[in-house]
């Protein structure tokens, strides 16, 4: 009897939902998540739809978004490099240099905060306007060119219909607000979870990782190396969130890259969370990026000042970097704000090769070759 009542209630409930929705104008989006991955958090005012994702994908690869039509998002976020660009710092559409490297766009849907070092940038919808509109430095250079940029889309043969399909309730759908939302929806689909490590760990393929990579995995999770404190969890980052996250994990770390004058300083203009908060203890603190596809995203650190993964291992083994002379001189190992998880360690030659093999096992070839993420035809 009770079961029958429940069934009736569910049926009625479904009817109510259908009626409330009115006509179906956007298709239902279904996450295709790798095994072991949680559902990403999506802001309530920008639900995922296929139409938005496809519009965002087209916009991502389209140079019309830059003021002078010379750059698109993809200029600095190349799929074959896990959506990074291989440069220590990026050059904007008008030739200005950014102080930091283009971050890889890997599992950004799970980032606790976006960009390198800003505790207030929680959402992709907040981050995306920075490269579009930023003036110091100019990246895409939309500021001052807004009407022209929107006019390019409105004059296009298919964009107006695509915007309308992605934002069916908006009477004027071709807008920067909607460009931002569509780009965010596309970026949330850039999920990498099919590396050799994933196949071993989540897909029960015990042949996926070499013996050396498995030894490296063990080393990675030891208290001797301490790697996992900042690069832990399913996404190998201490700054991780998800749809059912109960807590705000937005970690930032000073890893001893600089110590100018022995007082803990980092190069002016590139001092991490300190630039935002002005709090001394935030000097040199940056978000630990995911290690997924890390072998594809050289050079390393926020300013690209470590060229190779070998350099990165040397750096962490030393517990920081010593710069002997010049304006940046200082012993980063003794930076007073350095993370407690960067004490340094000693690796044998074999251990070093094992750790490298593990880092290589985080490369997800299917991610960098996924046609759904590529430039639309």
């Amino acid at each position: 009897m009770k079961a029958a009542s429940l069934t009736v209630a569910l049926v009625v409930g479904s009817c109510c939902t259908l009626l409330a929705c009115g006509e179906h104008r956007t298709s239902t989006f279904t996450w295709s998540l790798p095994p072991g991955f949680p559902v990403p958090a999506v802001p309530a005012d920008n639900p995922m739809t296929n139409e938005k994702v496809q519009l965002g994908r087209r916009l991502f690869y389209d140079g019309r978004l830059s003021g002078n039509e010379t750059q698109s998002c993809a200029s600095c976020h190349k799929q074959e490099l896990a959506f990074s660009d291989g440069m220590p710092a990026a050059t904007g559409s008008t030739g200005q240099m950014t102080p930091r490297g283009s971050m890889a766009l890997v599992n950004v849907a799970y980032n606790g905060t976006q960009t390198w070092a800003n505790p207030a940038l929680l959402l992709l919808e907040q981050q995306i306007p920075i490269p579009i509109f930023g003036e110091r430095p100019v990246e895409l250079g939309a500021t001052g060119n807004e009407p022209q940029i929107l006019a390019r889309y409105m004059a296009d043969v298919s964009y107006p219909r695509q915007f309308a399909q992605a934002f069916p309730d908006d009477p004027a759908p071709v807008s920067f607000a909607n460009i931002t939302k569509a780009l965010a929806a596309f970026l949330r689909t850039l999920i990498s979870g099919n590396s050799a490590f994933d196949r071993y760990t989540y897909q029960n393929d015990k042949t996926a990782m070499s013996a050396s990579a498995l030894r490296g995995l063990e080393l990675f999770f030891t208290e001797r190396l301490e790697c996992f404190h900042c690069h832990g969890g399913f996404n190998f980052s201490s700054s991780t969130t998800q749809a059912d996250a109960a807590f705000t994990e937005r970690a930032f770390h000073n890893n001893g890259l600089y110590n100018i004058g022995g007082a803990g300083s980092y190069p002016p203009g590139n001092r991490g969370v300190f630039e935002i908060t002005g709090v001394r203890e935030d000097m040199g603190k940056f978000r630990a990026p995911t290690l997924r596809n890390i072998a594809l995203t050289a050079p390393y650190m926020h300013d690209g000042s470590l060229a190779t993964l070998d350099d990165v291992l040397d750096f962490y083994a030393a517990g920081g970097r010593v710069i002997e002379s010049g304006p940046l001189a200082g012993d980063g190992r003794a930076n007073p704000f350095k993370s407690r998880f960067v004490p340094g360690f000693v690796l044998t030659t074999e251990e070093r090769a094992d750790l490298m093999a593990f880092l290589q096992s985080l490369t997800d070839t299917s991610f960098v070759q996924n046609p759904s993420f590529a430039k639309p035809l």
Binding site: G36, P38, L217, T240, A246, F247, R340
Partner: protein, 292 residues
């Protein structure tokens, strides 16, 4: 319109029926365990420097202070145990495990901390008169080794997770210590208590058998009732430790390794026998918790 009223009626009826079944008796009542963190007599706060800690009277600044509590039972006057059913809130506690979080991510707690704090455990108890409380400092074995990304709150918390093999940190207190000589750099101590000797194919594979050393302290507090506060005292835990010392080639502080000299006093302070990871004599020598 008619549909929704019908829905409401059915749901209300079901809710009433469910309530009657779920209550399991008239004598079930809410109960709360209230905790307060201290360093000796002083209330705990991130950024405060506490003098006089350990055998060398070191100055201590805390960077993290969190722990998991499970298997909560009230005790009656005869020592009988009465299980407390935790009320799941999708954040601090599930039906089986609760997170106490005394750090608020300010100052030195900022690197891995969370702004949210929690100093209480909420559950349902039976009608027995309360003469004490007993709980386990840890995550139940069956939940300790899972994918943190898919775990339910409060276990979906990366900073309290070691990995699939070793599982969760039951207790995490990170701090740095200084002595009287300002020229000597601070000593980093990390007290990460969890199970050890966990066997599996790899660090990211859950063990199928119990870990060799459970390291779950069973805490008994006689004389507690819900009107009283449970004090969690870091200075008492570290009373026999020299927190200015780290044995070379061991983890900084105590990361539960039974062979680490610094772990001997810390595990003893939790009432545990370091070599077995079990309670030494019902963990009655624990110094970390007390009733006030």
């Amino acid at each position: 319109m008619r549909g929704s009223r019908f829905c409401f009626g059915v749901c209300a009826t079901l809710a009433l029926a469910w309530g009657a079944i779920g209550c399991g008796g008239d004598d079930e009542a809410p109960v709360q365990l209230s905790f307060t963190a201290r360093v000796g007599a002083a209330p705990f706060a991130c950024g405060t420097v506490y003098p006089g800690v350990g055998t060398t009277a070191a100055n201590v600044s805390v960077e993290d202070f969190r722990m998991f509590i499970s298997n909560v039972r009230t005790l009656d006057a005869a020592g009988g145990e009465h299980p407390v059913k935790l009320v799941a809130d999708q954040k601090w506690q599930s039906e089986t495990v609760a997170l106490l979080d005394f750090e608020n991510a300010s100052g030195p707690c900022g690197e891995l901390g969370t702004p949210e704090t929690n100093a209480s455990i909420r559950g349902m108890k039976d009608g027995a008169k309360i003469a004490g409380v007993r709980f386990s400092l840890g995550v139940p074995e069956g939940e300790a080794h899972q994918n943190v990304g898919l775990a339910k709150a409060p276990l979906n918390l990366g900073s309290m997770f070691w990995g699939w093999q070793a599982g969760y940190k039951f207790l995490r207190v990170d701090f740095s210590s200084t002595g009287d000589d300002p020229a000597v750099p601070p000593t980093q101590w990390l007290v990460h208590i969890g199970s050890t000797g966990c066997q599996s194919a790899a660090a990211t594979v859950a063990p199928t058998t119990a870990c060799a050393r459970s390291n779950r302290a069973e805490i008994t507090l006689l004389g507690w009732d819900p009107s009283k506060m449970i004090v969690v005292d870091l200075a008492a835990l570290l009373n026999a430790s020299n927190v200015l010392l780290n044995t070379v080639a061991t983890a900084p502080g105590c990361m539960s390794d039974a062979s680490d000299p610094e772990c001997q006093q810390v595990l003893a302070g939790l009432g545990l026998d370091a070599s077995s990871g079990q309670c030494a004599g019902a963990c009655s020598a624990q110094k970390f918790f007390r009733v006030e």
